[in-house]
Amino acid sequence: MSAHVLAQAVVIGVITGAGYGLVALGLVLVHKSSGVFNFAQGEFGTVAVYTLYRVHDRIGVPLVPAMAVGLVASVAMALATERVVVRRLFDAPRVTLLVATAGVALLAISLELWLGEARLRFIQPALGRLDRFSLFGVQVSDQRILILGTLLVLAVLLGLFFSRTNLGLAILAVSQEPVATELMGISVRRLSSFIWGLAGLLAGVAGMLAAGDAKSFGPGFMTFDALIPGFTAAVLGGMNSLPGAFAGGVVVGVAQSLAVSSSAFKAIPGPGSVMVFVLLVVVLTVRPQGLLGKA
């Protein structure tokens, strides 16, 4: 592989991996605070996209207010999930919660199929310019720069939130010692609502940015297109590390891109997926806590 092709693969990996990282960020947030693998994270985002589509494309509300409505919808869904499902299973094994969130995702997809029909919908990106600049011959669009920038900003802000604020520290305390935290006068349930609402907000942002980049979406869009790479990114980065989510997303994107671009993998059908598998196995074997996770 020439240096030029390698550089192109890295650029592609970074700009596409940012999307995975954005999803991974929401997954890590919930896992970090409650130990739950949230399979419904993708659908929080899909609901935001459907709402945006309805409000902006159908009713004609301008883009920014419509995005705000979309975010409200995703946060509302996340809060409803927390209240109706998670809170009732608060003391259940984490595996039960994992399955419960998968159920929420499937229910949401069914509702999207029922209400929205199984067809592609078309949506324009917030920023339409495709050739903002070219890096090693790869054109980078404004929308992808927006995704990358959003991911960086959110990762830093969330990192600061958990390390520098009392609320962030309280959330970490709840995740490690809920009983002791409760005895200190901190409401575990209220914090849980806050975390899930924040996860819904992140999913909404990820969904709307990803749909704008893909220019189309359908039922289960975020679950089918982004949840699995997002989970992989989160596991690679370390399930409790917010910067790790960013790093994991980029690593997944770069690995897939390298595999597709390299002539060394020419004989392998679907080399991108194979590369991700190999990477996942290697990282979990050598460093089970992930690239940036703490042992």
Binding site: L106, D225, M239, S261
Partner: protein
């Protein structure tokens, strides 16, 4: 166990779950042939209706709109070796798809306007849900021996009709009238309403009965009306087998039809073959379907379409650098080999030859688009799902790269693809078993009239695809005669007669020809109107 070690354990478990999900989503499937796992029908269900003699004299056209003409059997042209690939397995989580049963209202059982010549003796079929052959034993088929096998040599073809070894039949029983009553024929259809090739369910629902309602008004098929049982296969082969099993074993359909999706069609066809149920679909891969005695393609297979496309690249586009991109499924191996061989033989320079995942990620698609651009391909021969095609073209456009996309297929030439993919797909060209709406009034004026009559609006191209396929099936059912059994149906198909509809290509079969279509339509995207237009009708080369 400490909380930390517990978390690591949970993380590992989740990683395994993610890996499994990833495998499912990326199409890394185990090769589990559904046919071999098909449960045999319970023994003891004897053939209903007695041993009705099969008699289906040619020329027995009834009051339908289709033409069934005798004769003109094409010379068999050898083709692909038979593979045993039967993809099945992986699936993405998805809600259960709804199925529907829709009786077609029509005038009772008025006899056909024209009596069939050389028709059947014996009573008309009585009740549904009767005999099913037990497993693969020819002896159990109740005497319904279909013609023996003829080994098909491998190799390319450009002509009509691919042959392959058709083994001694697990054939339909001679008296098997499952799904047939005196007034009704029940047919099972599966299609991807959800999954990687999502089509509007409302379009499917509106279109699936139009032809049968039209035919019912003309007396039906020897007084029988057709009832369609429809299931969503979710673009997933294991789900496809599941819904086909339901339709055969619970809904007792007479025959099965696959609307689209090579893996789903292959999986269901192999299941149907094990059950002795005739299975028809638009032409897809031949690998995995060659050798199935109950399978019939109603249009050209991908391999058969390859010479048409190569001749178009050479003689019409005058391009030399091509790239080949296919979905990563074993069912398309022979197609890749075929297009590679023919392109090389035609002097084309294959600058890239690649596969992409069935549910390829954003990163894979952008990388592929970039690799295509770097390769300098002027034409991209494409055989992927519509969603992958649209995303690939969109990513290529974002890299300021706009090759000519061209390929075989059933679904990439649908207007919904142009609606979603324009302007990125440019003037993409795809072969199709049915024409587009721009020429249908010329070819078959009854379609739009009937669609408006039964649905109250202009028909779309999904409805047209269903109309065309239904028309072919209708012609075949007419040819099978009044005494309709699965064996008489198969016999009618194997008789060598031409089935002409003016929508789908003329098709004919024989004992060893199951891919008997002779031409296709070539469609081109028109991004001004965001629709596909027909640029060549019933073409077999350029």
């Amino acid at each position: 166990m400490t909380r930390r070690s517990s978390r690591v354990a949970v993380a590992r478990g989740a990683a395994v779950a993610v890996a499994l999900l990833l495998a499912a989503a990326c199409g890394q499937k185990s090769d589990v042939g559904p046919a071999t796992s098909a449960a045999p029908a319970p023994a003891g269900q004897g053939a209903a209706g007695g041993g009705a003699a099969v008699a289906n004299g040619p020329g027995g056209s009834a009051g339908g709109a289709s033409d069934v003409s005798a004769g003109a059997t094409p010379g068999p042209v050898a083709s692909g070796a038979s593979g045993e690939t039967a993809p099945a397995g992986g699936s993405a989580a998805s809600p259960a798809g709804g199925g529907s049963t829709s009786p077609v209202a029509g005038p009772g059982s008025a006899g056909p306007a024209h009596g069939p010549t050389g028709s059947a003796a014996g009573p008309a079929g009585s009740t549904a849900g009767s005999a099913r052959p037990a497993g693969r034993s020819p002896a159990s088929a109740g005497g319904g021996a279909s013609p023996g096998s003829a080994a098909g040599a491998g190799g390319e073809n450009g002509g009509p009709g691919a042959t392959g070894p058709v083994p001694a039949p697990p054939s339909p029983a001679a008296g098997d009238r499952a799904g047939v009553t005196e007034t009704k024929i029940r047919i099972g259809v599966h299609a991807p309403i959800t999954g990687a090739a999502p089509f509007p369910q409302s379009a499917f629902d509106k279109g699936k009965d139009v032809y049968w309602k039209y035919l019912a008004e003309k007396g039906g098929i020897f007084g029988r009306n057709v009832e369609i049982v429809f299931r969503d296969d979710q673009f997933n082969p294991s789900r496809a087998v599941q819904v086909c099993r339901e339709m055969v074993e619970q809904e007792h359909v007479f025959i099965l039809m696959g609307a689209a999706g090579s893996e789903q069609i292959t999986a269901c066809a192999r299941y149907a073959d094990g059950m002795g149920v005739p299975y028809l679909s638009a032409g897809v891969n031949e690998d995995g379907l060659t050798g199935l005695s109950s399978y019939f393609a109603t249009s050209q297979s991908y391999v058969q379409q390859t010479p048409v496309l190569v001749s178009y690249i050479v003689n019409k586009l005058h391009k030399t650098k091509i790239a080949i991109v296919l979905n990563n499924t074993p069912a398309l191996n022979e197609t890749q080999q075929s297009v590679t061989r023919l392109a090389q033989a035609a002097g084309l320079d294959i600058v890239r030859n690649s596969r992409i995942g069935k549910n390829a990620s954003d990163s894979e698609l952008l990388s592929e688009a970039n690799a295509l651009r770097t390769s300098g391909a002027e034409v991209v021969y494409l055989l992927t799902s519509p969603v992958n095609f649209i995303k690939l073209a969109t990513n290529a456009q974002a890299q300021a790269y706009s090759p000519v996309y061209l390929g075989p297929g059933i679904t990439n030439g649908l207007n919904i693809v142009a609606e979603a993919g324009c302007p990125a797909i440019g003037a993409a060209k795809f072969l199709s078993p049915f024409p587009q709406l721009d020429v249908i009034d010329k070819l078959d004026p009854d379609y739009q009239k009937s669609y408006e009559k039964y649905n109250g609006g202009r028909g779309d191209d999904i409805g047209l695809a269903e109309w065309g396929l239904s028309k072919v099936i209708g012609a075949m059912l007419q040819a099978a005669g009044k005494d309709l059994t699965r064996q008489s149906f198969v016999n009618a198909l194997e008789s060598g007669r031409d089935f002409t509809t003016n929508v789908y290509p003329v098709v004919s079969y024989s004992g060893n020809i199951r891919f008997g279509a002779k031409s296709s339509h070539l469609l081109e995207a028109d991004c001004n109107s965001r629709t596909f237009k027909t640029i060549a009708e019933f073409t077999s080369g350029f």
